[in-house]
């Protein structure tokens, strides 16, 4: 269980998160929604310690995260796929993937790589290419694949559908869903694409100006026209 309690952060004078609290249950997808600039990215970054929390905490199975170094996240089973294209463009596709596998400690086995290539065949064709030449969508696949290399138990995804073709988005969400179902993965999914996100989420948390304004079961949120119009714009 990933538990966020009264988490607050600011950038200089700008308050980005105030007293955010919610829990993401084991084996569930929790969607974090909200307008641009609502603080979604900041939330994930604060949880994994990339941004210093000013107050509150985030714990995973009782283990404090916000004050733990980001480097330790993979060994705690937490994978954070950052916003934007977090590929290391100077490394090849395969090196990026191997790097993902190293995080959990130990060596990277060829089977691990093959597992990812099976998930994203487009990457298999380009394994020796520098990540620099990949198209936008290919990069997005690469970061996802890299996160999965570490076989995490918690996956923090920051707008994974950004720039992906509809079919791939669908596949991606299916993939996430299957990981949750088959492996009991816990997922915190930040999305603009609220509709798709809610279609696979168990729970929806809506942020606005750094505060939690809605925290509901996904069906309820998707079914409530008022809430949807007010916060999600569809």
């Amino acid at each position: 269980m990933l538990e966020v309690r009264e988490l607050s952060t600011s950038y200089g004078a700008v308050r980005a998160l105030s007293d955010v609290s919610f829990t993401a249950a084991h084996g569930e997808v929790t969607a974090v929604l909200g307008a641009n600039g609502a603080g979604k990215t900041t939330l994930l970054r604060t949880i994994t310690g990339l941004v210093r929390a000013q107050g509150g905490s985030a714990t995973y199975d009782g283990r404090e995260l916000t004050r733990t170094a980001p480097e330790l996240m993979p060994s705690l089973g937490i994978a954070h796929v950052p916003e934007g294209r977090g590929v290391i463009t100077e490394l090849t596709v395969e090196e990026n993937l191997r790097l993902g596998g190293l995080g959990r400690g130990g060596r990277v086995k060829p089977e691990d790589l093959e597992r990812i290539y099976a998930l994203f065949p487009a990457l298999a064709d380009r394994r020796a290419a520098l990540a620099h030449v990949l198209s936008g969508g290919e990069r997005q696949m690469l970061v996802l694949g890299r996160a999965l290399m570490a076989e995490p138990s918690v996956l923090l995804l920051d707008e994974p559908s950004l720039g992906l073709a509809p079919r791939i988005v669908a596949q991606l969400f299916e993939l996430v869903q299957s990981l949750v179902v088959d492996q009991g993965l816990t997922v915190l999914l930040v999305e603009q694409n609220a509709r798709s996100a809610l279609s696979i989420a168990h729970r929806g948390v809506v942020l606005s100006l750094g505060r939690v304004v809605v925290d509901e079961r996904a069906e309820v949120l998707a079914g409530d026209d008022q809430l949807r119009h007010a916060y999600l714009g569809f």
Binding site: N36, A122, G137, A165, P166, R167, Q192, S199, G233
Partner: protein
Amino acid sequence: MGDARPGLAMQDITVTFGGLTALSGVSLEARPHEVLGVIGPNGAGKTTLFNVACGFVRPDSGSLSWGGQGLPRLRPHDLAGLGISRTLQGLGLFDRMTVLDNVLVGADRDARSRFWSDLLSLPRSTRDEARLRDRARGVLDELDVASYADRYPASLPYAVRKKVALARALVSEPELLLLDEPASGLSDTEMSDLGTLLRGLTDRMAVMLVEHHMDLVMSVCDDLVVLDFGRVIATGSPAEVRDDPAVQAAYLGEAVTDA
């Protein structure tokens, strides 16, 4: 909608990178007052197509023409002079320049002052600068982001930054606008605003749009070209394309988006 002047035409463009064929025999035409959508799976070659149109990538074969004239050796910085603007798939904002300065860079080709008059700060230069400033503010205003004019882009919300990038492309009053995924990262509301805006632009220019958000594509495009593995697999109106089984298989999938 027929306009006598033809817009951008690409004939039989082929691009390869090492062993990889990114585009193969692609032909299309972006006509004035129309929005031409280019869609296709990731890595299909859409951005590469734009890069060819901009001179960033030289095609192995095929030709380009603009307004009926051939464009044999196009270089990216000639583009603005021809009346073509483009946004980048990333943001490509100048982080250490204010929003207004960012937009002013887009107006650069219209600056009349020259090096020497700048050096001496002649009245001509000052006047010219004021004129461009007004124009840049006008565009920012049109996109509803004028209040950010003196801020630096890095600290602004993503949607605002996207608009700034768009403003920079628009300020030179191009005849053809190439937009690479302008809606990525926008919320549904923002996206529909963008749709309205794009339709409005067709009064003034031709638009070529690469996008993965089908709602937007379907609602604003007049014509679509679908790429897969560098080939055109379908063309036609949005409705035609949507129902094309090849397109569904390659790109749309069982559209989750169609709730």
